[in-house]
Symmetry: C2
Subunit: 292 residues, 2 copies
């Protein structure tokens, strides 16, 4: 576009802050200060560690204590001491509290759909834009965590991976890859691993490892969301999955890919992977191996 980048960024900031301000007052719309509402949001019915909430919100212990007692007075939560460490507290949502959280979520949901309605025919574009911006802003906080390959988020990642393959690789068809994967056990300890990269609780990339024999593993399902590319996430995931493989005492890793996936192939080759004998069928046309 036409303007100074800084001016564009400031305009964006103003627009978003105005919207977020409206969100704040709506929090107060339920007769509770923002701070207490934020705490309430993090308490789960099955119980949440008080210290964890405090860390997450960066609250002073005194303020936290006051919020908790205010919520308790409203019968929205109950607190007890952690039996394992009786200095620590555990907060639990009461049924009333659950209803209150649901009411907040309904408000948020309404406001969100209002924004999407305002975007009209461009809602998809707007969401893609939001993903990109959120991913950039969260960039330093992306966390890799092992996940069950049948977890809904893992399936989401794989679905996105398959449809990307279908779009780019000749003779690859998403329907050849059923979900949940009948082979999921192979990606689950002790046979394998499934890693997801999380950006603020949203999965943005994944990779899987599968044991082939006592000393050999196969790397599969390396996928990075379009919004999260250009941050070295694939490299980070590959390093992490190689570390997992070493921890499993594997000495060789293999993978199959297709030369049209140029970024992926370039990444592999630049990190010590070399051609090896084909060990699978089409749509693969490139087979690589790496000694650990």
């Amino acid at each position: 576009m036409i303007l100074d980048p800084i001016a564009r960024l400031r305009r964006f900031n103003r627009a978003v802050v105005r919207e977020a301000g409206a969100l704040d007052t709506s929090f107060m719309g339920r007769g509770r200060p923002l701070g207490a509402a934020r705490v309430l949001h993090l308490v789960r019915p099955e119980g949440t560690d008080v210290a964890m909430i405090r860390a997450k919100l960066g609250l002073d212990s005194g303020l936290m204590s006051r919020f908790l007692r205010a919520l308790e007075r409203e019968h929205l939560i109950t607190t007890e001491t952690d039996p394992a460490d009786r200095r620590r507290g555990i907060a639990r949502l009461t049924p009333t509290g659950q209803a209150e959280v649901a009411a907040y979520l309904a408000i948020i949901h309404d406001q969100a759909s209002q924004i999407l309605t305002r975007a009209g025919s461009r809602a998809d574009e707007v969401l893609t834009a939001m993903d990109l911006i959120a991913t950039i802003l969260n960039r330093d906080q992306v966390e890799l965590r092992p996940t069950d390959p049948d977890a809904p988020e893992a399936q989401d990642c794989q679905r996105a991976y398959f449809s990307e393959l279908e779009a780019r690789v000749p003779h690859a068809h998403a329907q050849d890859f059923p979900l949940p994967d009948p082979d999921a056990d192979s990606y689950r300890p002790p046979l394998g691993r499934f890693l997801i990269a999380w950006s603020d609780e949203m999965p943005v990339a994944c990779v899987a490892l599968k044991r082939l024999d006592a000393s050999t593993g196969e790397v599969k399902r390396l996928w990075v969301a379009a919004s999260a590319r250009g941050q070295g996430l694939a490299r980070r995931l590959m390093a992490a999955i190689e570390a997992e493989a070493r921890a499993m005492n594997l000495r060789t890793l293999k993978l199959e890919t297709n030369r049209v996936l140029t970024e992926a192939v370039a990444l592999y080759r630049s990190t010590g992977w070399a051609d090896t004998a084909p060990f699978t069928d089409i749509p693969a046309d490139t087979w690589l191996a790496k000694a650990l």
Copy 2:
């Protein structure tokens, strides 16, 4: 992408609010509450109407008065009564105040470039995404204002328009349209008009009107930024420029266009424009007229 739209929107909100929060505290980093800093930002060296600032920020008159006096005590502004209406106040930035505003801007600038740096190779994509989101959020506040055709923003719009033409219309070359336009007088009262659509002080669309003879005008330079499409802005601009033409006592409007600009042509035809005899050269291939 893969997740529930609402979840994506909430993640976006969290990411941006966290960032904006950091921006807020930096405002306080200069030892002044956010409210006063916001007021300071709106005061111009040549003097600003106090009531206008108050309306823009939605402040209570009492609070506003206190902010102004606090800023005055710091010698950042001076205030006087409006000679034309001695109930009203006018605030002026002192040189000290100008330096202070510059210091704020430097901080903002730093933070903005930090974000762009974080975006790395995707900075352009991020800015485009921000434009889109800001435009959607500001959607209801787009304002049409007549502008001088030589104003920098008008030139920005025209530059964007020409490069769009060059990209889409065969035989159109941006270098055939010098800026500032030697013909600018034609788009300036009393001969013509140049309208810009502003979204939070950023130009997002424009249109020009040029008198051909006592009763005929020509509409030119209809342009809408990519980020602002799909909101009916072109239609709004056309309606406004037709109103301007009527106010100038014109009875017929003409325009030239090219059939590859399908959205534009469709808009014209759906609002009463009909084919007319060619009155210009290539790259035009479609000539339309409308009786007012």
